[in-house]
Symmetry: C2
Subunit: 155 residues, 2 copies
């Protein structure tokens, strides 16, 4: 091997490869910024959901973030143990989720970090390019979901 090997174009040009690389790089930076808060991206997302929808039913919140309900239980447990979130029994089988004051305070700090990280990562893009990127990603996401749903039907 004279020269350094490169990922072949047939792979490097694939949308899935490009998306995965970008996502890994962005999440790696996010996790480093958020290490001081001990918050993962999904945890930050739940805090934001609970701020927007105080008292939301646990099952709804989990769906919104793409969780299987079986996995959402220990996920909420961890935040409740840290007193960032509380469950309140709404009826015999339903939990409402609420931020605690500590949860709101942590969310405020997390927002500042997340906004700073967002600015850093998108600094090279004009507002117009950033908007365009979001639209292109949305179109890819929608097309991929249609495809996956069609494949699931025919399987």
């Amino acid at each position: 091997m004279q020269d350094d090997p490169r990922v072949p174009a047939e792979i490097a040009d694939k949308i899935g490869y490009q998306l995965r690389n970008a996502q890994l790089a962005v999440f790696a930076g996010f996790n480093e910024q958020f290490a001081a808060l001990d918050l993962r991206p999904a945890q930050f997302s739940l805090l934001a959901v609970l701020d927007a929808y105080p008292g939301i039913v646990q099952a709804r919140a989990g769906e919104l973030l793409g969780f299987q309900k079986a996995n959402f239980t220990p996920f909420v447990d961890a935040l409740e143990r840290r007193k960032l979130v509380v469950r309140v029994r709404l009826d015999g089988r339903t939990n409402g989720l609420l931020l605690t004051p500590a949860g709101r305070a942590l969310l405020r700090r997390a927002r500042r970090l997340a906004d700073a990280h967002e600015r850093t990562v998108t600094a090279g893009l004009s507002p117009r390019d950033r908007r365009l990127l979001g639209e292109l990603l949305e179109r890819i996401t929608a097309a991929a979901r249609r495809d996956a749903a069609a494949a699931a039907r025919s399987a």
Copy 2:
């Protein structure tokens, strides 16, 4: 909750959230298409690498795909057990990796599936938009890697 809850804009507008959604959707479709071949995206990538660089040293191939060497060993083991890949001892401590005829045959089938999947997912994008998307993702990836490296240095 009268209306259906939505992921708050402060999350939905983040580049990381959008990338993750897109990547999950694209990989889900890929995995459904590839279930018949029992091939994951990373396995397909390695087959393509070995086709482009026959005899590449195991450590180089692993680096290229972002593997920790400790994880790459069982990854190669699985493909070798299926007779898609062979290790050849190059010197006392170095393995070269090669496709077997069965590996080449599977790669041919995988390419057809991958190309079809790629066309489906990007069908809504003009060639110009597809190119632009790749460029924007590349810029995001580079910026995120610079940021993560800087954060790691200051930590």
